[in-house]
Subunit: 717 residues, 2 copies
């Protein structure tokens, strides 16, 4: 195969992106961090975040090390189909193992940089708010963009470099698996941490002692702020890093099989097509980010969404230009092949539009000026139970439109380009991920800025400005979350197809019929797959509930043992609460992490690879339902509470408000722990399956141990 020189575009985009991220970091760091109190609080948050990340990275290193050895030693990575029985050649093992380390490191780097700058931007954005809304917005937006640019930049540099060196997407598989291992830890660990602190702080501080949000007397308030950084910034960043890489990988793996019969040059063009378009998407995001900086508006929420639309439009135009360049520079490409490439470009655009539409539906179900949130708020008038039932139902309902949206996108992109088209639609959905992550990281920064403005005593006016920035973050979040879930979903579907083409080699040899649900093992595989995200969500929510209870006890103990804390004359012990959240999160993420790798391996080994494919399908489908349901129900409860706090239906400190707080507290681990972790679970399970398929094919030729047992029993009776 030939690697077209045009790939350099993606590399350049990645390098520029990292450069801009560094420039933005410097700009942010140069800002005034505010008064002494603010610097102190911000210092606490930074310390807490660093402590958590360091402890987590330590444990991660062990996990990554073990998997490195497994990949290196036990992975029969290539198989040939000559003769009747597949032959495994332990090849590309060390390449994949090293790529795995590089992928982990790249994701860790992006997450760490983004988070540290996020933490630094907090207090500077708060100080910015004392000058003007624009100033505050700028600092927070730059801070968030660092994360967005670091994620996409390092992912693109990694993929491009690996592909240039090894010229096969198989090694990128290792890189992708590394990224998804990190994402799993960051999402689960960060998610448990942030909600342990948040729920704990709310339950005692707000409900029992009636302290306002972010009050410094609340011992969990710093932990809560730390949680925003480790969960929402670092976690979300690593999640989208993961999906981004997975979508590109899936398209490349598929192109490897589907276009194998074409000429080397054309094959090379199709192989780099997803990387090239992702590079173009990064340029589009960069231009969007810079345009946003120039545009000024009184409504920062609209501005963030405008940035998304601008990036989309630029991407569509630039993308078309580069398709033209790619087809024009590919030697010997036929008109039919050119047409195939254009059709796949349309699939990309369909994916992107689908992402926006899913974002809109999330927006509809979680915005306070639309019927669902209004009805949920009204339900709060009938008490805690009714607000829960209402949010629960709307959360379930909100699954239907994006499911239809993804279905339509899949069918259209399939018509345009077959399974490669579906993979390209996923690439399209993630093309402007730079913008998406930037907007997303903006949210926790302004959330923390608001807290620091409160804790630094900057006064009501400044807090009001910070509040406005905060609500803009929530508006943008609806669309970016929809994007994140939709994109992850489509990316795993694409990965599934590439898994299946690998598994299909064997199925074809053995005359199998693919993943036929009428095969009992395939059916059971699908069944277990549907149950997997359910188990996973249950474990995560239980973890939050368990840790939040510990947190509640600690907060109560601090208030009782030292009455000066409540008087505000002595500070509470922040370290203890941060410690509880850190230890709890790390302890509780072990089981889900092991399960996410062990479940697909066990299903593949016991039931065979066809059943494993169905397992993944089942997990994707039920994972989609639970991810969307939990995210949207949580978002809707959150905004219902905020809408009531804005003075509607009686406003704050009414029974209606208290019921809405219950809804919000239930929604917290839904939307910030379990819901978003499911994406990562799906990617990890699918990549585990794809990487270790060679191992499974060694066991009873990929038919699994149970079929062996069955045959033995049939022989007996």
């Amino acid at each position: 195969m030939v690697v077209p020189i045009l790939l350099i575009v993606a590399l350049i985009a990645g390098v520029i992106s990292i450069a801009v991220a560094i420039i933005f970091s410097i700009i942010v760091l140069k800002e005034d961090p505010g008064n002494e109190k603010m610097v102190e609080v911000s210092g606490y948050i930074e310390d807490g975040a660093k402590t958590f990340i360091k402890t987590q990275y330590k444990i991660l290193s062990i996990f990554v090390g073990v998997l490195f050895l497994v990949i290196l030693l036990f992975l029969p990575s290539e198989l040939t189909s000559e003769g009747k029985i597949p032959i495994f050649i332990p090849e590309l093992n060390w390449e994949q193992a090293i790529a795995y380390i590089v992928g982990s490191a790249a994701s860790m780097f992006a997450g760490y940089l983004g988070m540290i700058i996020g933490v630094k931007a907090n207090t500077r954005a708060a100080q910015g708010c004392t000058k003007s809304l624009d100033k505050g917005f700028d600092v927070a937006f730059f801070g968030g963009s660092v994360m967005g640019l670091a994620v996409v930049g390092s992912a693109l540099i990694g993929i491009t470099t690996i592909y240039w060196i090894f010229q096969t997407p198989v090694v990128i598989l290792g890189f992708s698996f590394g990224a998804s291992t990190i994402a799993l830890f960051m999402k689960c660990g960060g998610g448990i941490f942030t909600k342990t602190a948040d729920v704990g702080a709310d339950l005692v501080g707000k409900a029992e002692y009636h302290l306002p949000e972010d009050d410094v007397r609340n011992p969990a308030t710093i932990a809560d702020n730390v949680g925003d950084n480790v969960g929402d910034i670092a976690g979300m960043g690593s999640d989208l890093f993961d999906s981004f890489v997975a979508s590109i990988l899936a398209a490349m793996l598929l192109s490897n099989v589907i276009f194998a019969s074409l000429s080397d040059a054309v094959q090379g063009a199709f192989a780099i097509f997803p990387i090239l378009l992702s590079g173009v998407g990064l340029f589009a995001s960069l231009i969007g980010i810079i345009l946003i900086k120039w545009l000024k508006t009184k409504d920062p929420g609209k501005l963030l969404n405008l940035g998304t639309y601008i990036a989309t439009a630029i991407f569509a135009a630039l993308g078309a230009l580069f398709v033209w360049i790619l087809t024009a520079t590919t030697p010997g490409i036929t008109p039919a092949e050119t047409w195939i490439m254009w059709k796949n470009y349309f699939a990309v655009i369909i994916g992107l539009l689908c992402g926006i539409i899913i974002g809109w539906t999330s927006d509809f179900f979680t915005r306070d000026d639309k019927p669902p949130v209004k009805n949920i708020s009204r339900a709060a008038q009938e008490g805690d139970a009714v607000v829960i039932l209402s949010g629960f139902s709307y959360g379930l309902l909100s699954v239907v439109p994006p499911a239809l949206g993804i279905s339509v996108a899949m069918i259209l992109s399939y018509w345009l380009g077959g399974v490669y088209g579906v993979a390209m639609a996923a690439v399209g959905m993630l093309a402007i991920v730079g913008t998406v992550v930037s907007n997303d990281a903006y949210g926790p920064i302004v959330d923390n800025a608001r807290a620091i403005a409160e804790q630094g005593g900057l006064g009501e006016d400044v807090i009001r400005v910070a509040d406005k920035l905060d609500s803009a973050g929530n508006t943008a979040k609806a669309i970016t979350k929809g994007f994140a879930i939709g994109a992850a979903n489509l990316a795993v579907f694409a990965l599934l197809f590439s898994f299946a083409t690998e598994a299909g080699i064997i199925a074809a040899i053995k005359g199998g019929t693919g993943m036929d649900l009428l095969n009992i093992y395939v059916l059971i595989g699908a069944f277990l797959g549907v149950v997997a995200p359910v188990l996973f969500s249950a474990l995560l929510i239980l973890s939050v509930q368990k840790n939040a209870t510990l947190m509640v006890e600690e907060i109560r103990a601090q208030f009782e043992s030292n009455p000066k804390i409540l008087e505000g004359t002595e500070p509470p012990d922040f370290h203890k609460t941060i410690n509880i959240a850190t230890k709890g999160a790390l302890k509780e993420l072990v089981l889900p992490s092991i399960l996410s790798v062990a479940m697909p391996l066990l299903v593949g080994i016991i039931f065979g690879v066809a059943a494993l494919g169905a397992f993944i399908v089942g997990a994707i489908l039920s994972g989609f339902v639970f991810a969307i349901f939990m995210s949207n129900a949580g978002g809707a409860w959150d905004n219902a509470k905020k809408w009531i706090e804005d003075g509607n239906l009686g406003g704050k400190d009414t029974p209606t408000h208290r019921a809405a707080i219950t809804g919000d507290t239930v929604g917290d681990p839904f939307k910030d722990t379990a819901g978003p972790s499911i994406n990562t679970l799906l990617v990890v399970m699918t990549l585990t399956s794809t990487i270790f398929i060679g191992l499974m094919l060694l066991i009873n030729g990929g038919d699994g141990l149970l079929a062996l047992l069955e045959a033995w029993l049939r022989g007996l009776f």
Copy 2:
């Protein structure tokens, strides 16, 4: 084919069962209905229940009438595979249409009889409690048994007679569809009714005005009692009627295809095998019921479960006897065929054991002396939000063990008898359904008896006796609910296989590969299937929430307009509240009912029959998750509340208790509306698919309209 004379056993069992039901009815009616006040209250309940059922049956008649015509006129029921293109012969249409009416009528009859006797037994059981625990138990148990016996008796008589007349299971398909239409209306309508009243009564009566449970001053209290009868007795009865018939039907349809090559006599033996064993199961249930009557114990909960175990043991023994008789009386049966029959008998036993094990796991997750309910209760100490999160997580966790149980049962029964074996396992799970329904109907009777004892002023001692009977009902309910869900699930899986053998005829003709998830339409079908129960649950819970809000407003209005109601000097207007529940329930069940028939038809027509198969699989799998999750979460919250009310963790009227009430109220529509309705949804969707498959095969040869569109588009570009 020959219909073996042994089938008479099932007919006799059915007739005896109806006779015993009538005798039990007479015994119950002869009991003392208690004092004037009790008769009055009981009269209100009876009137309310009759009004609801009559209004519902009226609407049902229209629905049934329309479907009767559709089956009669539009159903191409048989197809031949001679030549390349399937030919449809509109045959057996009127037979199926009439069977459809008969099935509806039989289910209506059983539901009505059971419910009326249940209502009559209420007050008599309450009066019985003034004499002794035994007396109260006897009346309630006899009352409940009427429902159980009527359900199984009429189902068996119907199936046996139809089979004797038409000698083909295809006509039983109509009977089964009739039963499931009724079940859908009864479960959804009854479920919405009962929880509208229950939630409404709790929210205002208990939470706002601190009235005790079942207080006559609460205007919704009678509606609540009516709800127990229409939702829990009639609804559960029609649900199990439906599953029972479906499981037998599935096995018969499969035997029709699988054993087609055997001799007439042997084929006949396999065809009646499921009916025969169900008849034997009915005998076992009858013996169990009579033994229970003889045994006396101080723990009625254990007694009910003992009845289940006794019936199981008797069934296993009698079943083996009849397998021996069947094989001995079948002329020309070979030893190999005899062995196949025995293997399928073992599949039946595996199904039965699996039902009990699922029951145990439900029991574990919902019993107040096991960790889950204890932890949920403790979570209530941290407030409303935490108790919700805890119950939610344990509800999700509780899905895992029965999923593994069903998987193991499916694999083992498949090994023993292929897809026919899986169908026979479903038959086994439902074999002792007489006992299951009897135990289940006992619950609402004693629940109402307790209410009437309260309202009739029978004093604390009698109420304590009634309480004891009530808690026995809850213990038994855990196992019976597990049974109901597991059985429905396995029955739909079996139906799926029989659907697939029909669809398979076509797939074979066209060289298709079955339901391969790698086919994009099949994959989308599975996706939509997974979403279907989610949409359905959302609609039902929203309905309850909407109607409960109306109920709350009505109750508040009554208290405000007439202060004498709260003083207890004037009775509230029960009719208005019953009216609200009735109208609301009937209005709200229209959309879910139409969806349940329309969704599979649309999927089949648009995406083709293979996608429809995957749609059903998706719906079964996610339906299983949601049904178990909702039932167990609801049950656990309910029992956590009761455990606290028993004086634990501070007891009644503490913040902990109030939080537990919130959990219970959220759980009410989970466990009594949405959760159990999903079973019926699955059966209705699968039967709709099976019945109308001929119609779908007419459209693009079963490949659906979208494939046509795709082909047309591919022609254009």
